[in-house]
C-alpha cells in the first residue's frame, strides 16, 4: 500500500485504440479518500481513463498502453486484473443490475465474491448497509426478492451503487452516473457520493461542470486526450488558468 497518499497515479500515459491516440500523455495523481472529478466534453477520453484504472480496457481488442499506472501502490498494468478489480468498484453510465438476480442477490453477490460477508447474517447486514448508504433501503426494504426490472431507472442506478459499495472497495469509479437519470434521483445519487468522502477514494467522470462543483474536491479537465487544467475545485472555478477552462465552465464547449 502506497505511503505517499495517492490512491491512483497515472504517469505520462498514452493509450492507442485501433491505431488512433485516445489519451496523449496524461499525468494524474488522485489523493486518497477524496472525490476526484474528471470532466470534459464527450469523446475527450474520460471513460478510457476509468477503464484503465479498473483494467476493463482489456475488453477492447487492439489497445496499446504506454506509461505507468499505479493503483493503491500496485502496478496496474502488470498486476492480475482480477486481483486489481477486487479493490476497485465501478458504476456505469447506463444502470446494469443483473436482470436474472433479485435486488437482494444483486447486492449480496458483490459482498460474497469479495469475501466481505460469508454467512446469511453477515450478508443480510451488509445488504441492508449498502442499500441504506445508497439511499435505496426505504424504497425496497419490503421487496428485496423482486427483480430489478420493477425498479425505475434512478432506483436501478442506486442499486448499482449499493452493489458497488457492498464490495467494500477502496476506490469507486463512476462513469457519468447520473447521465441517464432524472434530476430528483440524480440529486440523491450526488448526496450518496458526497457522503463517501473520507471513506473511499471516488473518481467520477462527468460532462457537467455544475455537478463537478457540487460534488468534487479535485477536478481534472480533459480535452482531446490531454489534461487542460487540474487542481482543487475552488481554484479551477475561481481562478481558471486556461482559456478552454473558461469556455467549458460557461458551457460554450
Amino acid at each position: 500500500m502506497n505511503k505517499v497518499g495517492y490512491a491512483v497515479e497515472l504517469n505520462d500515459v498514452y493509450v492507442r485504440i485501433n491505431r488512433s491516440e485516445v489519451i496523449r500523455g496524461i499525468t494524474i495523481k488522485v489523493p486518497l479518500n477524496t472525490i476526484y472529478v474528471i470532466m470534459g466534453p464527450s469523446g475527450s477520453g474520460k471513460t478510457t481513463i476509468l477503464r484503465l484504472i479498473s483494467r476493463l480496457i482489456d475488453l477492447i481488442p487492439d489497445v496499446e498502453v504506454t506509461g505507468s499506472i499505479s493503483v493503491l501502490g500496485m502496478d496496474a498494468l502488470r498486476s492480475d486484473p482480477y486481483v486489481l478489480r477486487r479493490y476497485v468498484g465501478m458504476v456505469f453510465q447506463t444502470p446494469n443490475p443483473f436482470p436474472h438476480m433479485s435486488i437482494y442477490d444483486n447486492v449480496a453477490i458483490a459482498a460474497r465474491i469479495n469475501g466481505v460477508a460469508n454467512n446469511r447474517d453477515e450478508l443480510d447486514r451488509i445488504v441492508r448497509w449498502a442499500l441504506e448508504r445508497a439511499m435505496l433501503w426505504d424504497e425496497v426494504k419490503g421487496r428485496l426478492n423482486d427483480y430489478p426490472h420493477t425498479l425505475s431507472g434512478g432506483q436501478r442506478q442506486r442499486l448499482c451503487l449499493a452493489r458497488a459499495l457492498a464490495m467494500k472497495p477502496k476506490i469507486l469509479l463512476l462513469d457519468e452516473p447520473t447521465a441517464s437519470i432524472d434530476p430528483v434521483n440524480a440529486r440523491k445519487i450526488e448526496e450518496v457520493i458526497k457522503s463517501l468522502r473520507d471513506e473511499i477514494t471516488v473518481i467520477m467522470v462527468t460532462h457537467s461542470p455544475h455537478q463537478a462543483a457540487r460534488v468534487g474536491d479535485y477536478i481534472a479537465l480533459i480535452y482531446s486526450g490531454t489534461i487542460v487544467e487540474e487542481g482543487r475545485v475552488k481554484d479551477i472555478f475561481l481562478n481558471p488558468k486556461s482559456e478552454f477552462t473558461v469556455k467549458f465552465l460557461r458551457g460554450e464547449v
Binding site: 479498473s54 476493463l56 475488453l59 481488442p61 486484473p81 482480477y82 478489480r85 477486487r86 476497485v88 468498484g89 465501478m90 456505469f92 447506463t94 446494469n96 443490475p97 443483473f98 436482470p99 436474472h100 453477490i109 458483490a110 465474491i113 469479495n114 448499482c160 452493489r163 458497488a164 464490495m167 469509479l173
Partner: protein
Amino acid sequence: MHRIRVIKDRLFTFYVVITSALALIPSLHLISVIILRGVEVLSEAGIKFLVDLPPTPLSTQVGGIAPSLLGTFMLTAIALPTTTLIAIFAAVMNNEFPNNPISRILDVTLRSFASIPTIVVSMTVYLLVVIPMGGYSAIASSIALAIIALPYAYTIISAALGQVPHTYREAAYALGMSRWMMIYKVIIPIARRMLAGGILITMARIMGETAALIFTAGRFRTGLTLSPNQPVDAIPLLIFDYALTPYPVMHKVAWGAALILLLIYLITFLSLKVLVKEVKL
C-alpha cells in the same frame, strides 16, 4: 408502356404464388398423410402400439414399436447431454478467447462437421467403436448421434452466449468476478432461454436421425433392453427399414411409428416456440 409493367407484375405475382404453393403442398400433404394413416394404425392397435413388439412380416396384428420407442429415448438420454456439454465448452472457448488461433480452428472444424454426410459418420463410428466392442450397441449409436448433432448445438449455443449484452460482462468484471464465475453466474443464466431452445433443437435432431444408426445400432427389435453395450433400435431406423419392405403390415407399423415421431417432434417444437421467440438455425 405502363400497362405492360402492370401485366408483368400480375404475371409475376401469379407465378410466385403458384410456385410457393408447390413448395408447401407436398410437405403439407406429407404431414396430413402421416396423421391420417398413423391414426388409422393407432386406432387399430390402440395403446398397445407403445408397448408391444413389432409383428412378423406375415402376421395380421400390427403389434407395436416398444423396443424402438425405448431405444430412441435411451439414445437421446445418452447423446444429448454429451453433445450439449461439448458444445457448451466449445462455445465458451469461442466466445471468451475469440482471437486465439486454437479457438478459430475449433470454430472452423465444428462448422465443417455440419457438412459431413451422416452415413460417413456412421461408417467411422462403426470402425472406431462397433468393431472394437465386437458388436452394435447403444453406446456406438449415441456417439454417432452426438457427433452429428454437435455442430447444431454449437452454433446455437454460441449465438445464445454471444447475444448477452456486453454491459453485464463489464458489471461482472467490475465486481471482481473471475471469468469462469462470470460465465457461470451471469452469462449462462441470462442466456438460459435461448440455451434451452438450443438444447431442444438438438434433441429434435438426435431423435430424427436415421443414417447415423444404420451401422451402429443393430436393429434389436425382438425385446426391450436398457443395456448400453447391446444392440438397440430407434424409431427412425424402424421406419426406414419397414418402409423398404414389401409387407403391408410392416408399412402399417411404419406409418404408426411415423405419427409417433411426428408427435414427439411437434411437442419439442412447440416447447421451443414457447421458450424462444425466434431461433435461427
